[in-house]
Symmetry: C2
């Protein structure tokens, strides 16, 4: 995770369809979703969805895997963690008394 990776990841998330996709995939969890399912659920044209999925897949935020005629997409939770870690790393290094409670509050209820 270098700065360019982080910039690409944030750019991927700075677009409504792709943000929707990642949230869908996070919700879907380890079973993932096929490109077609995602496009249908969000009501996005096929080629637009394809371009956006490729954009996401070029980041470390999602992975994919061909399954027969479909391609299945998955949220990459460790990639998401790395991105957040990249943003916060200097806080953790220099000011753990600020950073720790911040991340503490992110824990699931």
């Amino acid at each position: 995770m270098d700065k360019l990776d982080a910039l690409s990841s944030f750019a991927a998330l700075a677009q409504e369809t792709r943000l929707d996709v990642l949230k869908l995939l996070i919700k879907a969890g380890e079973q993932g979703m096929s490109a077609g399912e995602i496009g249908e659920q969000l009501g996005i044209k096929q080629n637009t969805m394809s371009a956006n999925l490729n954009n996401l897949a070029r980041t470390n935020l999602v992975t994919n895997k061909r399954e027969g005629r479909s391609i299945r997409y998955y949220a990459n939770f460790s990639g998401i963690r790395e991105l957040i870690g990249f943003l916060m790393e200097d806080c953790c290094g220099g000011n753990p008394e600020i950073c720790s409670p911040l991340l503490e509050q992110l824990k699931c209820p």
Copy 2:
């Protein structure tokens, strides 16, 4: 933190100077940095820096406060937490067994 806020925040972070600025402010912690200090440290022209700081300040990721002739900028840790929370909320709701360890690993060492 609605979807539009999240999109603006991610867009702010999808640009090198602004990402650099936020990381600087995270490192600076509660003492913050003036606009001039930030621009000087990053070697960015004054008006370019001003535009980028305004972009960041329109999100919830940073705050600012005029101090005499300068304007001081601060990372807004609760805003950062809200952004991460927005991204992960469906995970926490549906799959805490995936989400919890992810956030656990983000804690400061």
